[in-house]
């Protein structure tokens, strides 16, 4: 089946209606999704520069999980020199920010999370994530939300561990 432009608008409309925004963002709008993900798997950053091999492969030649790789890569850049205002800190430590970002681009979400964990105390974010996880209902579309929460939570925790490790 080939969709012309008008048909694809309809498809987008239907998908939006049924809360398939992440799918839209990552699949429909970018037909380069597979290529993008495969490049990521091999350590290519969004700008097609490459992360160091030690950020991809552990000592025993086992590959890191991609999220771990991203975190190690961001952490390896060291603490940024920029001094951000309390307003930016408030935005980047809000769970809502990552939930909305996740709908737009998963990779960017990971980068922002890693960067935030590197710079700020993430206790508030962790607490907020845990509360959301606790409140989420495990059925229907909420299951999808839980995935977001879990990934966020896992990521934040993991990032903290990596931070401690460094």
């Amino acid at each position: 089946m080939h969709l012309n432009r008008i048909q694809s608008w309809y498809v987008k409309g239907i998908l939006l209606q049924y809360s398939f925004a992440p799918i839209l963002a990552q699949y429909v709008f970018t037909s380069s999704l597979q290529l993008c993900n495969d490049l990521r798997s091999f350590g290519f950053r969004p700008d097609l520069t490459r992360i160091k091999s030690e950020s991809m492969i552990k000592d025993n030649d086992i590959r890191y999980n991609v999220i771990e790789s991203v975190a190690i890569d961001v952490f390896s850049l060291g603490r940024p020199k920029v001094q951000l205002s309390p307003l930016v800190a408030a935005g980047l430590s809000s769970l809502k920010f990552y939930q909305i970002t996740y709908y737009t681009d998963t990779h960017l979400t990971e980068l922002f999370l890693a960067w935030s964990c590197l710079n700020k105390n993430t206790d508030k974010l962790l607490l907020e994530t845990l509360k959301c996880l606790y409140d989420a209902q495990p059925y229907g579309n909420e299951a999808f939300q839980i995935n977001i929460m879990v990934s966020t939570f896992t990521y934040v925790s993991m990032s903290n561990l990596v931070f401690v490790h460094f």
Partner: protein, 678 residues
């Protein structure tokens, strides 16, 4: 004279005109009060033309209301007309003659020989000749108008040469085609299949006549006495007479001038001349020569580029201009001159390039190109020490101002302390003025979300500029005026943390509220748009839906990432549109994507230039981290079967083709998969 002809159920204009002249009997409750009899009497109501005009216009009522759906529909039914028209039957004299005849026939029992009751009226006085036809092609909600007009300027008006007037195109027209082009009705379309089968489909002819212009063969002669009286009256009352020409003369002259200048400005020779002139100015390195003629040429070229070329429909020459302007602006002196111009224009309304192309322009290509040029100029401008120090002073002043405010609870307001007259002496910073204006545009961004995607792209580009020895002066400047916080507010809107919402109330408005405000501003209640098209169709497909979708925020997030220091978050293009086949876009990998894939291919190949079955399996296993499809041997076989060579090995060409095909089919494949799930 204009006569509205009801054509529903009528096959030609005579039927429509006859209906107009039909007698209506007013009896019973419909009796009409008679002034003579002083009571309600039975009456015959009829319509007839008392005096025929020299130019008769018949409006065919093709737009009608469908009482089932209460929508306006267009009647595409056939309505025939001829090149000559006799109006005798529809005049007062004609109607009276026919009535007289019919009443006489009613008294005579036997009518042996039929005598035309209208024969006593001379045909010449009622004869018209078709002079023009206005055609509408389309449906009730939209379409296109054009005309067929007979040339009445030659042969004393009796010429039968016709022309088609379609916008600015005037072409000869064969009047024998009038039936096909103007009558409407059904049209049969035949499709012949390769097996010889002929498929016939009957559809409505969407192009049909809407107005007919008939000219009287024998124009009416006025009574000389009446004319004299008229002249006397005109002279005595001093009423100015107009032929109509004078009314439109100025407009026509103005249109002709505009047309002439457009033809000149878009002429390829003229463009080539300007480009050559700009090219010649690039060789100038001497500062005094730059000031005397190189910079004025750059100014002229940028005005031509931003004010004319970017507004043009034809974008074919843009790439040449972009390369040339980028080269010209790469010199710090030229870049600085251009940023001064941009900064100066932020104080104007109609000449403000930054506002026009960062938030108002509906053309996505023009927007992105303009932002690219502005970013190039800003980059090279920082090559001047004076500009850097002016920007640093501006940043310090701004930081001081911002921190003096309690930004957690009150809106961050920027006081305009930039003086454009002091830019030349570097007492004020042109870049600072531009950044201030960018903040202003960001604050208005929720209202112009459809057109300001490239504003974030500009922020992303300029925050990535670092100058050797001076660090990230632009990033510091952007941070000093809370651009990152503004981007977060623009992205999160009403979901922003309370501190951000307090600081940027305009930026934190929800889309629904912005939509309400925009409606109040744009339309009265009688001017509500008929459909959502008014807010759609801006550049790419993603903006076709009436509210921002996730992909619309990508530039905002990338800009935020780069401003806060994640420089590599700016995504490189992986695929590029190379054309369209049968309504479907064709994609190819960009050269950078190909280079990256080649690196992966080399890493995964156990032999130089070849990936065997085991290599492909290992490769797919790494990729499976993100893919929901497992790396099975079946998948490896399929890949090698389709993209491998004769020895069942994968070459770099096959590898790249695999990704090219994946990019091509991804949209459709994924849509199908998830639609089924829905």
């Amino acid at each position: 004279m204009n006569i509205d002809c009801q054509i529903r159920g009528k096959s030609d204009i005579h039927e429509a005109l006859s209906t107009m002249c039909e007698a209506e009997y007013m009896e019973g409750d419909n009796k009409v009060f008679c002034d003579n009899c002083k009571k309600n009497c039975d009456t015959v109501l009829r319509t007839a033309i008392s005096a025929l005009p020299d130019m008769l216009i018949l409006s065919l009522k093709r737009f009608d209301l469908d009482y089932n759906t209460f929508e306006t529909v267009k009647l595409n039914s056939r309505c025939a007309f001829e090149e000559s028209l006799n109006m005798k039957k529809y005049t007062l004299e004609g109607v009276e003659a026919m009535e007289k005849n019919s009443s006489m026939n009613a008294h005579d029992d036997v009518d042996e020989t039929y005598v035309d009751p209208l024969r006593s009226l001379p045909d010449d006085d009622y004869e018209y000749k078709l002079a023009g036809v206005l055609v509408h092609h389309g449906v009730a909600q939209g379409g296109h108008y054009y005309s067929f007009i007979r040339d009445r300027t030659t042969n004393n008006g009796s010429s039968n040469e016709w022309f088609r007037f379609d916008d600015d195109e005037v072409t000869p027209f064969d009047p024998s085609q009038i039936e096909m082009e103007c009558f409407g009705g059904k049209v049969k379309k035949e499709t012949k299949w390769p097996n010889g089968q002929v498929n016939t489909v009957e559809t409505d002819q969407l192009a049909n006549a809407l107005m007919l212009f008939y000219e009287k063969v024998k124009p009416t002669k006025f009574d000389s006495n009446d004319s004299e009286k008229d002249i006397d009256m005109v002279e005595s009352t001093h009423i100015p007479l107009a032929t109509g020409v004078e009314v439109f003369e100025n407009d026509v002259k103005r249109s002709n001038n505009v047309h002439r200048s457009h033809v000149f400005l878009f002429d390829t020779e003229f463009q080539r001349f300007l480009r050559q002139m700009l090219d010649a100015s690039l060789s100038v390195h001497n500062v005094s020569e730059c000031v005397t003629w190189s910079i004025p040429i750059l100014e002229l070229s940028t005005v031509y580029f931003f004010d004319i070329l970017l507004h043009s429909v034809d974008k074919n020459t843009l790439s040449d201009w972009i390369d040339l302007l980028s080269s010209a602006l790469s010199s710090p002196l030229h870049g600085s001159s251009f940023t001064h111009e941009i900064a100066r224009r932020t104080r104007t309304i109609n000449e403000n390039w930054l506002r026009i192309f960062a938030s108002d322009c509906p053309e996505d290509t023009s927007r992105s190109v303009a932002m690219k040029i502005i970013a190039t100029a800003i980059r090279s401008c920082l090559g001047r020490e004076e500009e850097v120090s002016a920007l640093k002073s501006w940043t310090q002043a701004m930081s001081k101002q911002i921190y003096s405010l309690d930004s957690d609870i009150s809106p961050v307001s920027l006081q305009k302390h930039e003086d454009i007259d002091k830019m030349v002496s570097f007492e004020s910073s042109s870049l600072g003025i531009i950044i201030s204006f960018i903040c202003l545009l960001l604050d208005l961004a929720p209202r112009t979300w459809q057109y300001n995607i490239d504003l974030c792209a500009l922020i992303r580009e300029i925050s990535n500029i670092s100058i050797e020895g001076n660090g990230d002066v632009l990033r510091d400047a952007l941070i000093s005026v809370e651009v990152p916080a503004r981007l977060i507010a623009l992205f999160m809107r009403d979901k922003s943390p309370i501190q951000i919402m307090s600081a940027f109330p305009d930026l934190s408005l929800s889309f629904e509220r912005i939509e309400c405000i925009a409606k109040v501003i744009s339309f009265g209640t009688h001017l509500y748009p008929l459909n959502n098209n008014m807010t759609s169709g801006v550049g790419d497909n993603s903006s076709s839906i009436g509210s921002p979708c996730p992909s619309d925020h990508l530039n905002t997030l990338e800009a935020l990432a780069v401003v806060i220091g994640i420089n590599f978050a700016k995504r490189e293009m992986l695929i590029v549109e190379t054309g369209e086949v049968k309504g479907r876009f064709v994609y190819d990998l960009t050269s950078k994507a190909k280079e990256s894939l080649k690196v992966i291919f080399d890493e995964c190949s156990s032999r130089p230039g070849l990936m065997n079955e085991s290599d492909v399996l290992n490769y797919l296993q790494v990729c499976c981290v993100y893919s929901e499809i497992a790396a099975s041997s079946q998948r490896v076989n399929n890949m090698l079967l389709k993209y491998g060579n004769d020895n069942n090995d994968l070459t770099i060409d096959g590898f790249l083709k695999y990704y090219r095909d994946a990019s091509q089919s991804n949209t459709v494949m994924v849509c199908e998969r998830y639609l089924i799930a829905v």
